[in-house]
Structure formats: structure tokens, C-alpha cells
Subunit: 422 residues, 2 copies
């Protein structure tokens, strides 16, 4: 595929999808095939995928694809009829949660899962207020866009939303300062009459740049929210399904149990399936006042896919793998970091890493250099991206099929590309 043909496709794309539909890279990349942790462009050139968490158990994993195709030839129908697969998936999934998180509602996307979680919280608490971090992304619906801070949105911050900073010593935010901001957010929501329905947080704070928050801080935050009458919603779209290497769900890292948990992206290895898990009491109290029905959510094909993803995580031991391969990658990354003063700090756990880039002279976020590195790494055959308030943290979040040999491939090239700037 020539550069010219890519340009033609890009032109056609902009014509029919509009010019603002986002694309990665200064020079967009056409990807036509995927396998494990690798993707291939139109010329058959391979790239190590160190970015995409949606193909969670590996691109085009045959066990998942086979399960989908087998079920799609049998029946695909909504959940107002009985079918064993939605029940099996519900049982398998809730078994991975701590009591009393034992019921689930299926949706198609993380956005829908968060919308439902907020509806449940509002119905149960009778309050309307929503507390989120000051650099969050939880979805693209009207309500979530009205509380988004990490992406441009035409919506003003909704009147029922308040933000607070999560602890991050790189930004000078201590746990104490974070809790003081949370206290202020709660007070403000009480004053405005909204009250606190929920605090909604990504339990590893991905958009925020993976800050290593102090032990006990989120527990204190949850206590404050509970005391104000609100619930804790853990958005596990990023850390969920074993990515941290420390169990299936990111909330466990904090040693607490949220009131509601939402999940999406990795759940179907690319197939649109997501879910809201909560307690029986919360779901029933919502169900008594509402007829919630999601046309595609939990259909037999989606359920077969969800079950197959759980199979692979279990059969291939992917949680332990994330721990081992992640620890290996961190050791090797640490070994090269000393050579590159632009890397201030490495963050992350399991198979999710953030390399904070800061100008060693001025101390300012090295956002432009991070952008250069992302684009150059693509030339070198590695896909990664950026996160954080200043887009200066390299985001490395590969499919869970990413192993030590892939880490070597990545780190060798990263060492080279970082070295070019000196």
C-alpha cells in the first residue's frame, strides 16, 4: 500500500466521517491484520501493539473468535427471552467479585455501564451530585461529557458535577490536599442542593497519568463520600480483567469494596460488551422504579464472547503473566531510564506503564518530546501513546499477550528513540 493510497483513504474518510473524527499519529496508520501482541499494516509490516487494551487477550484470539462465530450461527436475540449463556456469564463474572457485589446488568459500552451506575446511585441515594477527578474520562454521553475534564467537550461542567485532584506528588498534590478538595466538593454539592449521589473513579487513574496514590487514601475518600450519603463507583474499564497483575479488579489494590463497579473495553476483546456489577439491594431498588432494558446488552453472542475472554484469562494464566511480564518490563525499563534524563519517573503496575517526561533543565512537562517519541516509535514498529494533564506521560498498555520478548523489543527501540533527542 503506497503513501498515496493511504492519503486517498484518508481523504475519503474525512469526507464521510468529517475531519474531526480522531486518528492517531501525525501520519495516520492503516492496520489490516492482528495476531497476539502484533498488528500489521497494509504492506504487511508488523508493529508491536503496546497501546491497545481492547484486544485484551491478544488480537483475534482464536478461542474468542470461534466462540463468537459458533454462537452467531445458533441465535442472537435480546435478553427478554431465556438463554443459558447470559446466566453463565453473569455467574462466572460475579464470582470474580467480593461479596456483596453479586449481581450484574449487561450493557454494550463502558459509557452505558457508567450511565447505568449513575442512574442506580441517584435512585438509591435520592441525590444528584457526581464527584470525579480533575483529569477524568468516563465516557461520551451527555451526562459524562458534562463531567469530563481530560478531553475537549462543548458541554460546560454540569451543575451537578464537582472535581477534585487525586494525589500525585509530581503535581504537588498530597493525599491530605486531595481529601481537602474532596471535602470541598462534597460541601459544594450539599450547598447547591444536589447532594452526593456518587464519586466515580478509575481505580488506577489512567487518564490522570497512573499516579502512585498513597495506601489508605481512596478508603478515606470512600468513607467521606459514604458519610455524605453517596456511593463509590469504581470504573474498571482500564484496570479490569487482570491488567494490574494483582487480581481481576483494580479496586483490590486499595483494599476496599466499592458499591458499584463498571467495566467495558477489554471485556469482549473488541466485541461491544460491558457491564455494571453491584449489590442485590442496589439493583433491586433501582429495578423497582425502572424498566431498564438494553437491546444488545448480554445477548447470546456477546455472552459467548465474554465467557471466552474469561476462559482465556484463566487458561493462559494471564493475571500471573501480567505480574511477571510487567515486573520484567519494569526492571528493563529502569535499566535504560538512567540514560535518559527526560524520563523523570516510571509509574504503573502489571501491564500498564507510564513514563513521565519532564524537561531536565526547566522541569516543565516535556509534552512535545513525548509526542515526538510516540511518532518515532511508530516508525520503529511500536505503538504507544500519551496520558496525563500535560500529555507528557508515555502510555504503555499492551494486550495481555505481551511478554518478555515483546518488552525487549519495545525497550530496545525506546532506548534508541529517546537517545535521538540528546
Amino acid at each position: 500500500m503506497s503513501q498515496f493510497e493511504d492519503q486517498q483513504l484518508l481523504h475519503r474518510r474525512q469526507k464521510v466521517l468529517g475531519s474531526s473524527t480522531p486518528l492517531f499519529y501525525d501520519r495516520p496508520l492503516q492496520l489490516l491484520r492482528g495476531e497476539g501482541a502484533w498488528v500489521f499494516d497494509a504492506d504487511g509490516r508488523r508493529y508491536l501493539d503496546a497501546y491497545n487494551n481492547v484486544p485484551h487477550v491478544g488480537h483475534c484470539h482464536p478461542h474468542v473468535v470461534d466462540a463468537m462465530c459458533r454462537q452467531a450461527r445458533e441465535i442472537n436475540i435480546n435478553t427478554r427471552y431465556l438463554h443459558p449463556l447470559i446466566v453463565e456469564l453473569g455467574e462466572r463474572l460475579t464470582a470474580t467479585f467480593d461479596d456483596p457485589l453479586d449481581v450484574v446488568a449487561f450493557t454494550c459500552t463502558g459509557t452505558e455501564a457508567n450511565e447505568l451506575a449513575i442512574r442506580i446511585a441517584r435512585t438509591h441515594t435520592g441525590n444528584q451530585g457526581l464527584i470525579v477527578s480533575d483529569w477524568n474520562y468516563h465516557g461520551h454521553s451527555i451526562t459524562l461529557a458534562g463531567a469530563t475534564t481530560a478531553l475537549p467537550a462543548p458541554e460546560a461542567m454540569a451543575r451537578h458535577a464537582r472535581t477534585f485532584a487525586v494525589p500525585d506528588m509530581s503535581r504537588g498534590v498530597s493525599a491530605q490536599a486531595s481529601l481537602a478538595q474532596l471535602e470541598q466538593a462534597i460541601a459544594s454539592l450539599k450547598e447547591s442542593g444536589h447532594g452526593v449521589a456518587a464519586m466515580l473513579v478509575d481505580t488506577i487513574f489512567s487518564s490522570e497519568g497512573l499516579p502512585d496514590v498513597p495506601a489508605g487514601w481512596l478508603n478515606s475518600a470512600m468513607e467521606m463520600v459514604h458519610k455524605a450519603g453517596g456511593l463509590l463507583i469504581a470504573d474498571e474499564v482500564q484496570p479490569g480483567f487482570g491488567r494490574t497483575g494483582e487480581g481481576m479488579w483494580g479496586y483490590r489494590v486499595h483494599g476496599l469494596i466499592p458499591d458499584i463497579v463498571t467495566m467495558g473495553k477489554p471485556m469482549g476483546n473488541g466485541h461491544p460488551i460491558a457491564a455494571t456489577v453491584t449489590t442485590r439491594a442496589l439493583l433491586e431498588s433501582f429495578g423497582q422504579q425502572s424498566l431498564y432494558f438494553n437491546t444488545f446488552g448480554g445477548n447470546p453472542v456477546s455472552a459467548a464472547v465474554g465467557l471466552a475472554v474469561l476462559d482465556v484469562i484463566e487458561q493462559e494464566g494471564l493475571i500471573a503473566h501480567a505480574r511477571v511480564a510487567g515486573a520484567y518490563a519494569i526492571r528493563r525499563l529502569n535499566a535504560i531510564i538512567g540514560r535518559h534524563p527526560v524520563i523523570k519517573q516510571m509509574r504503573g503496575r502489571g501491564l500498564f506503564f507510564g513514563l513521565e517526561m519532564v524537561d531536565p533543565v526547566t522541569g516543565e512537562p516535556a509534552s512535545a518530546e513525548a509526542r515526538r517519541v510516540v511518532n518515532r516509535m511508530r516508525d520503529e514498529g511500536v505503538l504507544l501513546s500519551r496520558i496525563g494533564h500535560d500529555d507528557n506521560i508515555l502510555k504503555i498498555r499492551p494486550p495481555m499477550a505481551f511478554g518478555c520478548e515483546h518488552a525487549d523489543f519495545l525497550i530496545e527501540r525506546l532506548d534508541k528513540v529517546l537517545g535521538e533527542a540528546r
Copy 2:
């Protein structure tokens, strides 16, 4: 599969999904296989599917399943990389619309498509107000639940939402009365400071019971909304993809061109894909202020499925088929209606019919009798449902694979079941 085994599955289901997750029928039905217009239960007993519009081109259509499986083995990745299939689907889909509706944004569900449409309308108009019918269903997000009237929802009618009745002489609502209510809704939104962002309507008014609205009425309504600074959003989740037999989109029946069109359910024959189609000017004005990104929306597998559905509609001539088979069913239904005074009126076009049931003595909606008929028809091997303000209108909305022989099967049994009440 014994009754007992169904009961066991139901019990497990209620345990893990909660007791409020909706099911059809007084005695739930387990469906394990589908083909064309037929579905099969756990004992292999077949049912004529005269209800489900999601398996639009027929249950498990091999062309659609094959396309999905083929692409799922190649790559399934988000749309921030270039891929030809999303562009092809965008081009094929927008080609079915009238100018200037020539750009599309892909989502996963009709709910997401309507959320995006409202975001676009609000950004463009600078207004917040939403006008919907007084018996509508457009989705399950917070914003849409706050404007829903046809389903129980814990949310009060949102402060920015107003309703009006669509013309329906069965309910004593003339076109003039409807427009007077719309005028009042517009005035009220102006007075409250919200202004009019959009009027959102299903162009065949499915939840409302398929009233045969007078020619020109929706055009007048659109003019009033435009004059107030708002846009018309046509929700084509029900009429779209040829169901009316009069072209691909329901709005054509009214001889107008909406500002934004949303679609969902039938688009992927069960696979979660949906879309918002609008004008370049509207999408670009939204895109300038927003980074809208839908993780699963428009991925290569979803796009392959969407293209395959368009292929089948075209290759099997399903729009003409809906017209012909629909006209045949209406002729045959008319022939039996005279025998059953409980049927007051038949409504519908193409392959979507509503049979209004009214007590011939009291003139009251025969809701209980409609419920009995739906449950008895299931015993007789036919799936259908109910719509309308009083749930007294039989809803017949089969997959487009429904032909004259299926109409015969349905009508013979309906004649029998209706006769039992006499």
C-alpha cells in the same frame, strides 16, 4: 427441555441479573436457535418470529455471520487507525440519504446515537431544550430516561424536556391539536430559558402505537421547531433499513429531510452497531469543540457486519419485499378483522403492523385481552407483543425475511386466538 429446567434457569437468572430484568411472557420462553423468520426453543419447537426487528434480514443470516467471522479473524481495532471498511460503510450508508445528509458518526447503540445527536443539536443551536412525544422511548441513558414517557423510569421529566401528543384520531388528537401542544412546548422552553435544541421523533411513532398521522403535519412541526432555532432529529431505529417498504428511511414517508438521523437496532442484524447521520456543517461545528470518540463504534468487524446487512437488503430486494409481503398481510388481516369486533383498527405500513384492540361494548382499550392474545399466540407458535399508551395495540414487527407464507401462518392462528374470547 422440561418446564422444570426452564424454572431452574429462571431462578439462576434472577439470582445473578436481579428480579427486575425484563422477560417476555407470563411463562418465559427459552430460545436457542434461529433461522430466517423462525426461532426454536430448547425442545426444538419452532415459533414464527413476528416481533424481533433486530435480526432484520433474518435470524443468523449466513452472509452477515460469514462477513463478521471473516473480519474477526483479520483485525478488530478502534477507528483511530485507518481501515477501509469504516469508510466503505460510511459511503454506502450515506448514499442512501438525501442531500445534505452526507456524514456519519458510528456508535454501538441507538441510545448512544441519540445522545450524540442531542449533543450535536445543543452545540449547534446553543439551546438545551428537547421536545419529544408524550409516549416516547428513545433510549436508556440519563438524558433520554429523563425524557421517556413510555416506560417507567425513576427520573422525573427533565427540566429541559417537554412533550406533545402526536396526531391520533383514536385518542381524539387532531393535527391541529398536536401542533398547538407543540407550540406550547416551544413557548415553555423559551420561557424557562432552555430554548429549543431539538425535537426528537420516531418517524413512524412506534411506541405511540403507529398512528396514521396526516400528511404535512410533521412538516409543519419541523417548521415550527426550525423557527424556534431548533433541529429535527429523526429516530430511525424502528422504521429504518427499509421496514416501511417505502424506501430505506421512515422520514421519506413525510416528504421532508431531517437535520439529524439516528439508527440502531436492525443495522447489524444483532451485532451492536448504530449511527448518527447528519450534515457536514453540523458535524464539523460539533467536532470543532469536541473530541468525540467511541471505542467500539465503527470498528472493522462492526463495519463488515453493517456492510453485509446492506448487501442483503439490496441483493434480496428486501424493501420491495416488505412492500409486497406487507400489503399481502394487510389484505389477509383485513379479511379476518371483521369477525373480531375487539379489533377496532389496523395500522402500519411495510412489515410493521398494529392492531388496536378496544372493548366493543365499553369502547375502552382492551389491554387485558391484548395481553391474553400475546400469551396465547406464543402457545400457538407465534411471537408478537403490544404497544401504545394503553398497551392495547398488538405489535407485529417481524424480521424482513417474513413472507406471505409466514403471514398465512400468523393470521390463521391469530384468527383462532381472537375467536376464543367470544
